[in-house]
């Protein structure tokens, strides 16, 4: 099984994060989204394969690149994991077990079914609003659609086609769960917010951008 790790200027943390991850999941591909720090060198030093965007394209574009890469490797199971310290490897193990045991197509982590540590109130409000918005626009009710910890079958990874380059991809992915008639479930996970991850993560203002990108995507269908 392959784990896709998207990274943009994650030099200070990515080596430790990958070393922990690769103890359980050795096949890891880092999609470097045009970093200008030492993310690539640190990822290679941790033993990961690196696919490098020539310039910054966005989180959704990086995920789609990772999906294309693992599709070429014919991986039976594919996971996504953030390197900024928010995700836990033991949670990923439980997601994989759930996918296998319940014969699902996709399992998505949920911090609201599980736990969050150190989440600021405004981030919480935005995630709740995103949940309501995604449910209203896609008809898929997930408690945490913007959770980056996901596991899917290789067949799903080959089928998904994310056209949203930035953070709006999360809503697009949820919409494709429905259009592709996939069997999905949520798994409780713990998300730990640190000063580093809060500095790296989505900004509050991004929510307006996500709405705008989704509207443009809808116009271009």
């Amino acid at each position: 099984m392959y784990v896709i790790v998207r990274a943009f200027n994650e030099g200070p943390v990515i080596r430790d994060s990958l070393l922990k991850l690769r103890e359980r999941f050795p096949l890891t591909v880092v999609v470097d989204d045009g970093s200008w720090d030492n993310t690539v060198e640190e990822s290679l030093a941790a033993g990961a394969t690196v696919v490098r965007h020539p310039f910054n394209l966005g989180a959704g574009a990086a995920l789609q690149t990772g999906l294309r890469y693992v599709a070429e490797q014919k991986s039976p199971i594919v996971a996504t994991f953030d390197p900024d310290g928010q995700h836990r490897v033991e949670d990923l193990v439980r997601l994989v077990d759930m996918l296998r045991e319940q014969q699902l197509d996709v399992v998505i982590g949920s911090r609201f079914a599980g736990r969050t540590e150190g989440i600021p109130w405004h981030r919480l409000m935005i995630l709740r609003a995103a949940m309501l918005f995604t449910a209203a626009t896609t008809g898929v009710r997930l408690s945490d659609p913007h959770n980056g910890l996901r596991v899917m079958t290789g067949a799903v990874a080959r089928t998904l086609n994310l056209r949203q380059d930035r953070f709006a991809y999360a809503s697009e992915l949820v919409a494709q769960l429905k259009t592709l008639r996939l069997k999905y479930a949520e798994c409780p996970v713990t998300i730990t917010y640190t000063d580093y991850s809060l500095g790296k993560g989505q900004k509050t203002s991004n929510s307006v951008r996500i709405l705008f990108d989704l509207l443009v995507g809808w116009l271009m269908r």
Binding site: A48, T49, V51, T65, R163, L219, M220
Partner: protein, 111 residues
């Protein structure tokens, strides 16, 4: 009379440019041609703008032209933005193809 000739020349140039643009969507080309035709009518028969303005509940012909200009500008901006998004998607596919062509692995690095 000078300004009317100048504006007419400008509008006709726009029409010729739109007609020659084979890559533009047909609706955009036709939309531009209609806009130019209406513009020419208003340039040479400005009283007509007042007649139409009154029919749609606007007091002055100049206001009608101003409102129309605002709407057309917004439509044009939206069209240009969508075009940029399409180009951006093409660029993403190109960048992805480049990235996937040459993945880096620790083994390659040590060679």
């Amino acid at each position: 009379m000078i300004i009317q000739i100048f504006l007419s020349g400008l509008l006709i140039s726009v029409a010729l440019f739109a007609g020659l643009q084979r890559t533009s969507a047909r609706i955009i080309r036709y939309g531009l041609l209609v806009t130019v035709a209406v513009g020419l009518v208003f340039v040479w028969a400005p009283d007509q703008s007042l007649v139409i303005a009154r029919k749609v509940g606007i007091a002055r012909g100049a206001d009608l032209i101003f409102y129309t200009w605002v709407v057309l500008t917004i439509a044009l901006l939206l069209f240009l933005y969508l075009k940029i998004v399409r180009l951006s998607r093409t660029l993403t596919m190109l960048a992805r193809a480049l990235a996937l062509r040459d993945p880096l692995s620790p083994a390659k690095r040590s060679e």
